[in-house]
C-alpha cells in the first residue's frame, strides 16, 4: 500500500484471456488474437447420432511496464517478457544458465570458458557476456514456464441404437518443467539419469556425472539442462454405455437401465517421459495421475 499510494500501479499486464474455455458459444470474433474458443456440432442420421466438441485456449501475458531495477544485462530483463506466475512453475525466477553440453575430458575443459571448480563430467554453462568468467550475468531469461500457452480439449460422442460412446482428449503445449531429483546420499537417481550419466569410461555420455544432493555447481545453479518440455496429449477418458431393452427393465420394475464401462488416463503422448508432464514439482515429488477403470450401471426408477 505504501508504494502504491497515489501512484500508478507497478504492473501493467496485457492478458491474452483465460485459459479455460466454456463449451458452447464461440466468443472470439471481437478479439484481435487467437483466444479461447470452443465449437460444437451435433448430427443425427437415422439410428446413429454423433457429436464433436472442441475447445482451444491460448494464454499469454507480457510485462509491458514495471519499475524494473536498471543494470541487469539486457538478456535478463523481464520487461517485455512473460511474468513468472509462480515459483513452482518458473524455476529460479526464470533466470537460468544455458547448458551447452558436458565436459568430456580435460581437453574439453580447456576449450570452453568455465568455472574454476568445473571438472570433466560437469555441465558446460555458456559464457553469454563473453568475459570468459561464468557469473550470474551469464544466466538467460526463459520465457516458457509451467503454464502452457496452448490448451485443448476434444470430445467425440456417438450413439448407435442402444449403445453410446464418448472419448475425451486433453492436451497442453508450449510448457516447460524443471526436473532434477534429490539424489546421491539421500536417494537414488532416475533410470534415465543413470543411463545417460558421464563416467570416465563413458566420456561421450549425453548427461552429467552422478552427484550428491546440491554439491555440484550445476545442481544448485538452475540451468537449461534440467528444463523439460511438458507438452502432452492425453486420452483422458473413454466410456461405452448400453441401454438395456425397455422390456427387460420393465420386467425388473425399472424405467431404464444403462450399463457402462469407462477408463481414465488411458494414453499419454509426451516428451517428458520420466514423470507426469503435469507435475509442477521440480524434484518430481508429485502424486502421479492414476489410470482408473470403472464398470457400473445407472438405474432410473
Amino acid at each position: 500500500m505504501h508504494e502504491l499510494d497515489g501512484r500508478p500501479p507497478r504492473h501493467h499486464f496485457r492478458a491474452g484471456g483465460s485459459k479455460r474455455a466454456t463449451r458452447g458459444v464461440a466468443r472470439t470474433q471481437r478479439q484481435r488474437r487467437p483466444e479461447p474458443f470452443a465449437t460444437g456440432s451435433q448430427q443425427v442420421a437415422g439410428d446413429v447420432s454423433y457429436d464433436v466438441t472442441f475447445n482451444f485456449g491460448h494464454a499469454r501475458n507480457r510485462i509491458n511496464y514495471w519499475d524494473e531495477p536498471p543494470g541487469a544485462p539486457p538478456w535478463q530483463r523481464s520487461t517485455g517478457h512473460p511474468m513468472c506466475v509462480s515459483v513452482t512453475s518458473c524455476p529460479a525466477g526464470g533466470l537460468l544458465y544455458k547448458a551447452i553440453g558436458i565436459f568430456k575430458d580435460s581437453a574439453d575443459l580447456a576449450r570452453y570458458c568455465h568455472r574454476t571448480d568445473a571438472r570433466p563430467g560437469d555441465i558446460i554453462f555458456a559464457d553469454i557476456d563473453g568475459d570468459c568468467k561464468i557469473t550470474a550475468n551469464d544466466r538467460i531469461r526463459i520465457d516458457q514456464n509451467g503454464n502452457p500457452t496452448y490448451t485443448l480439449g476434444l470430445r467425440l460422442g456417438a450413439q448407435v441404437k442402444k449403445f453410446d460412446f464418448t472419448v475425451f482428449f486433453q492436451g497442453a503445449f508450449d510448457a516447460v518443467q524443471y526436473f532434477i531429483t534429490e539424489s546421491g546420499e539421500i536417494g537414488n537417481f532416475t533410470q534415465e539419469f543413470a543411463a545417460n550419466r558421464w563416467t570416465p569410461t563413458n566420456p561421450n555420455a549425453p548427461g552429467p556425472r552422478a552427484f550428491n544432493r546440491q554439491e555440484e555447481y550445476w545442481v544448485s545453479n538452475a540451468n537449461t539442462y534440467f528444463l523439460r518440455d511438458a507438452s502432452y496429449i492425453r486420452l483422458k477418458s473413454v466410456e461405452i454405455g448400453y441401454h438395456a431393452p425397455a422390456r427387460l427393465a420393465a420386467g425388473l420394475g425399472l424405467h431404464d437401465v444403462r450399463l457402462y464401462a469407462n477408463g481414465y488416463n488411458l494414453l499419454l503422448l509426451d516428451q517428458f517421459q520420466v514423470v507426469d508432464p503435469e507435475t509442477r514439482d521440480s524434484n518430481g515429488q508429485y502424486y502421479p495421475q492414476q489410470r482408473v477403470f470403472n464398470v457400473g450401471a445407472t438405474v432410473t426408477f
Binding site: R7, P69, D117, E185, R213
Partner: protein, 603 residues
C-alpha cells in the same frame, strides 16, 4: 441475449456515473490500509511494527549457521559445502542465498529496513497516545539497528538508508564506511535504549527492551574493537577503519557498553550455582528449553501450531528416532570441550582416548548427543532393536553373528540416508520429552542472553589487560557450567575464546568470532572430522555384553579457508592479504542494480 446484457451494463454505468464517478471508483482497498489509517490507530501501527520483527529471523531453521563454521557438518548439504570449502563467489553464494538465511542477506534486510524507515517517518505525526508512540519508536530504532548489525557482520560497511524511497527515484547509492556503519548502529541503539522500557508484561514480552538495545550496542562495539576491523593498512574503508584507531579506546567503549547492560540489574545467569556436574549439565540444557528466564535479553517465541520454520528436534535428531540428522557436531568442536577439571582433552592421553566422553565439561552433555548418551525411548518400531533408548553412533559392533552399525548411523536399518558422518548429533535446543518425529517443540531462539554480555565484558577486559574484571565475569559462567574457575596467565585470551566457543555453541556466534579474531585461516582450514567407534559384543540388543570400545577420528569433509576460485576477481591493488571469506560477497544482482556498490575484496 447479448444485446440485453449490453443494455443492462450501460444502464449500470449511467447509474454509477450519476453517483459521482470519483467517489464510487476511488475506493479504499478492502485488504490493506493506507498510511493515514495505520498511524491513526495504535493497534494498526503496532501490527505494522510486529511484522518488522519477523525480519529478525532466527537460528533454528533446518540449515544452521553452525554448519558454515567449525561447529557442525550439515548432512543435507543445501550448498553449505561451497562455503566451508571457500568456493563461493558473488554469483554463486551457496547456502548464503537460502531463504532461511534471509536475516543475514542483502535484499531481505533492506526490505525490513525500509519498513522501519516508513514506520519512523510516520510515527511522530501519529495521532494516538504519546507513551505508545515513544515505545514503538524505540522498537523501530532497535529493529533498524539490528538489521544493520547483521549486514555489518556479513558485509562490513553498507549503504545507510534512512529515507523512504518512492517510485522513479535514483536508487544508486554507495556503501558507507565501516566506521560510519558502526556509528550509525550505535546511535540507533542509543535512541532505542532511551525510549524503551526495561521489561514488558503479558503478550508484550518478547518486544525489544532497553536491555536488548544496550546488548546490541555492546556486541557491535566489541566487534568494532576486534582485529579484523583494525588491520593496517586498511584495504578499503568499507571493511575496516580507514585510519589507525586508539584500540584501547575501542575496547573501553565495548567494555563500558557491556557494563551498561550489567548495571541495569534485571539480568542474571539462569540457575547460577549448581550443586554438582550433573545439575550443571541439566541447568545449561534447560536454559534453552525455557520460554523465558532471567538470563534472556531478547528471544523469539514459537507456537508448535504455526510453521515459522523452527523444528530443531525433527531437523537435527538422530535417524534412529526417525528424525533428520541435520546439523551434526564435528570432532573439531567436541575436542574443544575441556575435561571437568579444566584441563584440555587430548587424544594422545591414553585415558582420554579410551573414554573420550567421560568427565567432560558438563555443557558437553547438554549440547551434544554422542555414542552412549541416554536419550528418550526409541519409537515403537525401533524399540525391538534398542530397548534402552541410548544413542548409538558406533560404526562397527562385531558380534558373534557379524558386524552391525549403530542405529543412529548411515549403516542403520532405520532411514540411513538421514544418518550423520561425524558420530554426533545436536542436543542443545532439543527437548527429549517430545516425540520429534511427529511434534514440533516450542523452544525459543535467543538473540541476546546475559552470558554473552559477560563474555563480551570479559573479552574487552582481557584486551585492556584488566584481568580481574575479566575473571570475575568469566568465572560466573564457569560456575554455572560446573567448571573450575579460570585463572590469570598467558593463556587467558585463548581460554576465553574457547569458553565463548563452548558456552555459545550453535548460537550464530562462532561464524563471526573466528573472523573478527582473525583465527579463521587456521581453524576453518582444518578438515571437519568425526569419530569412528568400533566395539565387540554378543549381539546388538544386549548392551551389557558390549566391550573393547575403540575410538578413531577420521576426516568427514574437506574444508578450506581460501582457494583459487575464491580469488578469481581479486583486486591486485588491495593489500588486505587473504581477504577472501572474511566478508561475504555482495550478490551480483545487487551490484547490477546499484552501480555504486563496491564489492568486498576477494570476490
Amino acid at each position: 441475449m447479448r444485446r440485453d446484457i449490453r443494455i443492462t451494463t450501460a444502464t449500470l454505468l449511467v447509474l454509477l456515473g450519476a453517483g459521482g464517478c470519483n467517489d464510487i471508483l476511488d475506493v479504499t482497498p478492502k485488504d490493506q490500509f493506507p498510511d493515514q489509517a495505520v498511524f491513526a490507530d495504535p493497534s494498526l501501527a503496532e501490527a505494522f511494527l510486529n511484522d518488522i520483527y519477523r525480519g529478525l529471523g532466527h537460528g533454528l531453521y533446518e540449515i544452521m549457521l553452525a554448519s558454515m563454521t567449525d561447529e557442525t557438518h550439515f548432512i543435507h548439504v543445501y550448498a553449505t559445502d561451497r562455503i566451508v570449502q571457500a568456493r563461493i563467489t558473488s554469483s554463486d553464494r551457496g547456502a548464503l542465498d537460502d531463504g532461511r538465511f534471509a536475516h543475514f542477506n542483502w535484499g531481505p534486510n533492506y526490505s525490513r529496513i525500509r519498513q522501519a524507515n516508513i514506520f519512523l517517518s510516520h510515527i511522530d505525526a501519529a495521532t494516538f497516545d504519546d507513551a505508545s508512540k515513544q515505545r514503538m519508536k524505540g522498537e523501530a530504532f532497535f529493529l533498524r539497528a539490528y538489521f544493520y548489525h547483521n549486514l555489518m557482520r556479513m558485509y562490513g560497511g553498507v549503504p545507510l538508508i534512512t529515507k523512504v524511497y518512492g517510485l522513479n527515484e535514483d536508487y544508486t547509492v554507495a556503501r558507507n564506511s565501516f566506521k560510519e556503519t558502526v556509528d550509525f548502529i550505535v546511535a540507533n541503539a542509543d535512541s532505542a535504549a532511551a525510549l524503551l522500557p526495561l521489561s514488558y508484561s503479558g503478550v508484550n514480552v518478547g518486544r525489544a527492551t532497553k536491555g536488548a538495545a544496550l546488548a546490541l550496542k555492546a556486541r557491535v562495539l566489541l566487534y568494532a574493537a576486534s582485529d579484523l576491523y583494525n588491520v593496517t593498512p586498511c584495504g578499503q574503508p568499507e571493511n575496516c577503519y580507514a585510519t589507525t584507531q586508539d584500540r584501547a579506546a575501542l575496547w573501553r567503549a565495548a567494555k563500558n557498553a557491556a557494563q551498561a547492560v550489567m548495571n541495569l540489574g534485571v539480568y542474571s545467569l539462569f540457575r547460577p550455582s549448581p550443586a554438582n556436574a550433573q545439575e550443571a549439565a541439566k541447568n545449561y540444557g534447560d536454559l534453552f528449553l525455557q520460554t523465558m528466564s532471567e538470563e534472556v535479553i531478547l528471544s523469539r517465541f514459537f507456537l508448535s501450531t504455526r510453521d515459522d520454520g523452527a523444528y530443531p528436534n525433527r531437523d537435527n535428531g538422530p535417524n534412529g528416532y526417525h528424525t533428520w540428522g541435520g546439523n551434526t557436531p564435528i570432532e573439531n568442536l567436541i575436542d574443544d570441550y575441556r575435561m571437568l577439571d579444566g584441563s584440555k582433552f587430548d587424544w594422545s592421553n591414553p585415558a582420554h582416548a579410551a573414554a573420550p566422553y567421560a568427565n567432560r565439561d558438563p555443557r558437553f552433555y547438554a549440547s551434544i548427543a554422542y555414542d552412549g548418551a541416554p536419550w528418550r525411548a526409541r519409537p515403537a518400531d525401533v524399540l525391538k532393536l534398542d530397548p534402552y533408548g541410548i544413542i548409538q553412533t558406533f560404526r562397527a559392533l562385531t558380534t558373534d553373528s557379524g558386524v552391525v552399525g549403530g542405529l543412529d548411523t548411515r549403516d542403520s536399518p532405520i532411514e540411513n540416508w538421514n544418518g550423520g558422518y561425524s558420530g554426533y548429533y545436536l542436543r542443545k535446543f532439543i527437548d527429549p520429552s517430545i516425540n520429534a518425529q511427529f511434534t514440533r517443540e516450542q523452544v525459543p531462539w535467543i538473540f541476546f542472553r546475559y552470558a554473552e554480555i559477560l563474555l563480551n565484558y570479559a573479552e574487552a577486559s582481557i584486551e585492556l589487560n584488566e584481568v580481574g574484571d575479566a575473571l570475575n565475569a568469566l568465572n560466573q559462567i564457569r560456575r554455572r557450567a560446573g567448571m573450575p574457575d579460570l585463572a590469570a596467565g598467558p593463556n587467558l585470551r585463548d581460554e576465553y575464546r574457547n569458553e565463548r566457543r563452548i558456552e555459545m555453541a550453535f548460537e550464530e556466534q562462532r561464524f563471526f568470532d573466528v573472523r573478527r579474531w582473525m583465527i579463521a585461516p587456521q581453524v576453518l582450514s582444518r578438515p571437519a572430522t568425526g569419530i569412528n567407534i568400533s566395539l565387540t559384543g554378543a549381539n546388538r540388543l544386549d548392551r551389557s555384553t558390549w566391550t573393547n570400545y575403540r575410538y578413531q577420528t577420521a576426516t568427514i569433509q574437506d574444508r578450506a579457508w581460501s582457494n583459487t576460485s575464491c580469488k578469481l576477481d581479486q583486486d591486485p591493488k588491495n593489500d588486505f592479504s587473504d581477504v577472501c571469506m572474511y566478508f561475504m560477497p555482495i550478490p551480483r544482482d545487487e551490484l547490477n542494480r546499484n552501480g555504486l556498490l563496491k564489492q568486498n575484496p576477494g570476490y
